[in-house]
């Protein structure tokens, strides 16, 4: 029997809907017994409840925010131990592991078990394996979709590997609909991308870098939405980057299609202008687009259309130490994802309610989980001093990837405690 009492927390109401995006804060004490939330009482009343328990850990939150467990819909893990530790310190409770992240491609039940084992061994924030949609992620033959789900995958995806043949895509969707399997898709016509490495626009032209046109994403999204309509499958679109795409998702949802979508945190903070100077840290897939896109993506998050993912990808130094186009794509973001979001809140670009919705409530709904802070639920939560300034450096990052875009930049959001599936995985 172990008990944890969090006193004087500002609980952010997770009962947020699109109609009610403004979050309400209330000051409470929260008691967790054996990993399960047992009491939520008015501030000051919690301490009496467990005074006799010798194993009671009391944490005086002193007004810090308690947010429902943050769920990352997309992260890549090469080294599970270091990266889940980074997530724990970063305040993230649950993370979807992309199928091309671990030692092998997650296209067999054995590979799924390998990830689950690595996650259990690490004992940090809990990983939710994403299985491959096609064998070897080649986009040609269907993976054993049902078997992968039965072995514990939370959803299936082809990561950002293309499924070029639309007939294969249609078959995947039909098969997924048969078993009501959630599939996660990306929107990119790789022929239209033309080997580009950044957004097609004035900056790409000035730097002489091949651009990826907006239509590379939108034509692919349009095609896939029509196929979703035809097949009736449940589809989540990962890492959208264009303003037009947000409008297309809104329209599809209004039409009644079972589609959801997310945006990578990088696309909410940065634009193609940040590539100036050829900084390979900003070489990401999908590319950072222009300010109009960034603002439309923020709108999409604020109105509840889009979830936010870390799109974390740790690279060793050599992978990024190259001229821009020759460097590997991807950013390391797990350590700083929550502070990046809270900094957007501080800058009045994101509401706190939208933050909770986009990083916890919506991902939970998409995956069929719950991380709400309610009596009887397993404790998935993060305690964070949202106004405290934090500064990250290469030395303070836990992630093995130092390719983080906000090193040396003042952010807010000091994580004090992270609980994942009832377990304490980080305490400052």
């Amino acid at each position: 029997m172990s008990t944890m009492t969090l006193t004087q927390v500002h609980l952010v109401d997770s009962d947020l809907t699109k109609e009610n995006p403004k979050s309400s804060l209330k000051s409470v004490d929260v008691i967790i017994e054996n990993g399960t939330i047992s009491h939520i009482v008015a501030a000051g009343e919690g301490q009496q409840l467990n005074q006799q328990d010798p194993n009671n850990t009391v944490i005086n939150a002193d007004g810090a925010l308690l947010l429902p467990g943050i769920i990352d819909l997309s992260a890549h893990f090469h080294n599970v131990a270091s990266e889940t530790a980074a997530a724990a310190k970063g305040g993230i409770s649950l993370l979807c592991a992309q199928p091309n992240s671990h030692k092998s491609i997650t296209d067999t039940p054995a590979a799924v078990n390998l990830i689950q084992q690595a996650s259990d061994d690490a004992g940090n924030s809990h990983l939710l394996p994403l299985g491959a949609l096609t064998q070897g992620l080649k986009g040609e033959q269907l993976a054993n979709m049902h078997g992968l789900m039965a072995s514990g995958c939370i959803a299936l995806t082809n990561a950002r590997a293309p499924i070029k043949n639309a007939l294969v895509l249609r078959r995947i969707m039909e098969y997924a609909a048969t078993h009501d399997t959630l599939i996660m898709l990306t929107a990119e016509d790789v022929n239209l991308s033309g080997g580009g490495k950044m957004h097609e626009g004035p900056t790409a032209n000035r730097l002489g870098l091949t651009g990826i046109a907006e239509v590379a994403e939108t034509t692919s999204l349009a095609q896939q939405l029509l196929l979703v309509e035809l097949t009736g499958c449940r589809a989540h679109f990962s890492q959208l980057s264009c303003a037009r795409s947000v409008a297309m998702i809104r329209q599809a949802q209004a039409q009644g299609l079972a589609v959801t979508a997310d945006v990578a945190i990088a696309n909410l903070l940065f634009t193609d202008a940040d590539v100036d100077g050829f900084d390979s840290t900003f070489n990401v897939q999908p590319p950072l687009r222009n300010e109009t896109d960034r603002l439309a993506l923020l709108d999409g998050v604020n109105d509840g259309t889009l979830a936010i993912c870390s799109n974390h990808r740790a690279h060793d130094i050599a992978a990024k130490k190259a001229p821009f186009a020759a460097a590997e794509a991807g950013m390391s973001t797990l350590d700083t994802w929550l502070p990046m979001m809270l900094t957007l809140v501080k800058n009045n670009e994101l509401s706190l309610g939208a933050l909770v919705n986009a990083s916890s409530v919506l991902p939970a709904n998409i995956l069929g989980l719950t991380t709400a802070i309610k009596v009887g639920n397993l404790a998935n939560m993060v305690l964070v001093n949202s106004n405290n300034e934090v500064l990250f450096t290469e030395d303070t990052l836990i992630s093995a990837g130092k390719n983080n875009p906000v090193l040396g930049m003042p952010l807010v959001g000091e994580v004090r405690l992270t609980l994942s599936e009832g377990c304490e995985v980080f305490r400052a």
């Binding site: 032209n205 000035r206 002489g208 870098l209 100077g277 130490k321 001229p323 020759a326 875009p405």
Partner: protein, 336 residues
Amino acid sequence: MTRHADPTQVQLTADGRLKHFLTTEGLTKSLLTEILDLADSFISTQERAVKKVPLLRGKTVVNLFFENSTRTRSTFELAAKRLSADILNLDIARSATSKGETLMDTLWNLEAMYSDMFVVRHADSGAAHFIAEQVTPGVAIINAGDGRHAHPTQAMLDMLTIRRHKGTIEGQTVAIVGDILHSRVARSQIHALKTLGAKEVRVIGPATLVPKEMAALGAKVFYDLEQGLADADVVIMLRLQKERMSDALLPSESEYFKLYGLTEAKLALAKPDAIVMHPGPINRGVEIDSAVADGQQSVILNQVSYGIAVRMAVMAMAMSGQASEQAAEKSQGETL
């Protein structure tokens, strides 16, 4: 959010002197003019029997060419020799990196040889910039062409050509014709021309080869050669690579020549005293008619000889900028 200082300033010392030469973008008019003036003075030394000046005596210059090039490399080699430097030519296109060595590994190896200057050509945009950020302080980087981004010494020799033939760059209308999309030369020319006061810079070609974003650099986009050439003072033809046809950017060489090839009849639309330039090597009958390439208005061969002088100028200036920065840092270290 941003974490960058102005990236074009990497090539300058704290007091605004050239220490690398990576791009013509972001350099002041006076600095570009200083390059042209110094190059002018070197042209006179080139006409002497003894052509060497001792500005880089005892310095080691490494020609680091990750892309094949005979002409540009030879002019850099000659320029270094005429400045009395020791020069090492490394044809990386055929050596180390093709064996899997990374750009960084190659650089560290070369730095261990205590070189003072790298002249770099690389297929990736930003490569010279990247190397400049990585090398030991005191080593100068001269960009001899990076991807589609910049070819600043070519642009400056073109500026020198215009200035010597037209007297000034100010007030000139310059038409750049052809494959603008893939051209590092065009980008560097546009920045230099705008800074040096050209009246109008036009880019001319089909939409597959002329990005509309060129307008953001201050160039006026034309899809029609006749309209674009009207009353131009300077006509710069760009080389058309054979790959453009297989990349589905153009139907054929013959259709391209018909629409965008420079003939005497089309040149007649420009000002009567207009000059015709080309960074070479030329494709006769593809982008330019032989009669024009060899004609009265062509200054193509003059460009080549000015190239050595311009390269001498930027090498001398960058080396001296590095020396002054090193001296400044040393004296700062002593006062601390």
